[in-house]
Symmetry: C2
Subunit: 218 residues, 2 copies
């Protein structure tokens, strides 16, 4: 399920607050969801809570990390050293969460050699070397739209099996490759859609608590 990462983040935060035990009710509240859904998700995971008490936070964190394959780091390689590539490399949040940046590559020789967030930009011809040396399985495409398909093919050719794609194109890759897409323009257009609906229906609006934060999934 795509909700496990969310649970993991919430639970990690709770762990830092030294909360040892948490109920499905509370957990549901913290991630804006239904208590039954939380319980069902966690039961699918197979891990057990204790009735009458709740879930042991530390144990649950361990189980989810295990299920998500986060027991070890997954180095990633970023293709494209433009604005977005720079931002991603410099973000720093990746390394902390188990996804160290093994390298940043670009096809433009003028960009090679500059340093982003402690990582030197290398030429895309070195991609195979980087991937093999660090056993990289995950590639991030941060190139312009026109270069995304070629970037994907190069990543696949050197053995990358999962791709996070920021370019607004549908990549053509073998079925065995897992691709996830983040399209910022699409997100904005969805917001625009809701704005437009608010404007045209012109009705009054209910003001309530916080719940339901649409996010990426499926």
């Amino acid at each position: 399920m795509a909700r496990l990462p969310v649970y993991l983040r919430i639970l990690s935060e709770q762990a830092e607050l030294e909360v040892e035990c948490i109920s499905s009710d509370r957990l549901a509240e913290l991630c804006g969801a239904n208590a039954a859904k939380v319980r069902k998700d966690l039961s699918y995971l197979g891990s057990y809570g204790t009735r009458g008490v709740g879930y042991e936070v530390a144990y649950l964190v361990y189980q989810i990390r295990r299920e998500l394959g986060l027991t070890h780091d997954w180095p990633v390689v970023i293709v494209g050293a433009g604005h977005l590539g720079q931002a991603l490399a410099g973000y720093g949040g990746f390394g902390e969460r188990g996804f160290p940046v093994a390298g940043v590559v670009d096809i433009d020789p003028a960009k090679v050699g500059s340093v982003l967030g402690g990582v030197r930009v290398r030429h895309i011809d070195e991609l195979a070397q980087i991937v093999q040396a660090r056993r990289v399985n995950i590639g991030v495409i941060a190139t312009p739209t026109s270069a995304a398909q070629e970037a994907a093919e190069r990543l696949v050719a050197v053995g990358v099996t999962s791709i996070l794609n920021f370019a607004p194109v549908v990549l053509s890759v073998p079925r065995s490759i897992e691709v996830r897409k983040v399209d910022l323009a699409v997100e904005l257009q969805i917001l625009s859609y809701h704005e437009q609906r608010k404007a045209t229906t012109g009705g009054l609006r209910s003001v309530g608590g916080a719940a339901g934060q649409r996010s990426a999934s499926a």
Copy 2:
């Protein structure tokens, strides 16, 4: 539906290639989906294709833009001038797609005054002024996690009704505010999950054509 933006992009591309008419089959192929799904989505939209021929691209583009509220620009304001905020402001793809950056604000006086992608960074106290002057309805949160909630509250206070949130937190806002979340770490963790499954099942992999690119929705 969250798929309309995808259709719009594909159709716009086809329009530039001077394709005047397109069938649901072809359209489905281009966006990696099912033909029946495409037809149902478009019929929900109410717009009509012609049987035996297909859909008129230009008309469909107009209809979708209309449905999504893209008949006029939606200026956005970016809160947070860190790496991500810089990348977003400098991206340029926003303006082209109808979301010009009305302003970038940050709470750090040291960052105020620098120029990102043609937009000068201003102090967050000027937020209200920017929003009212440019009639901004959409805010983008590109702050660190710890500042995201405050950023959201400030945006809501000055009248922003839609928020695109890049910080990995569930924002607490009134129900009337539309929030969409993009969490890069979650995306990577989902990829990690699939990598881990590949590794443990250890089975052989089918190699097929391109179809099915998971993306943000719901």
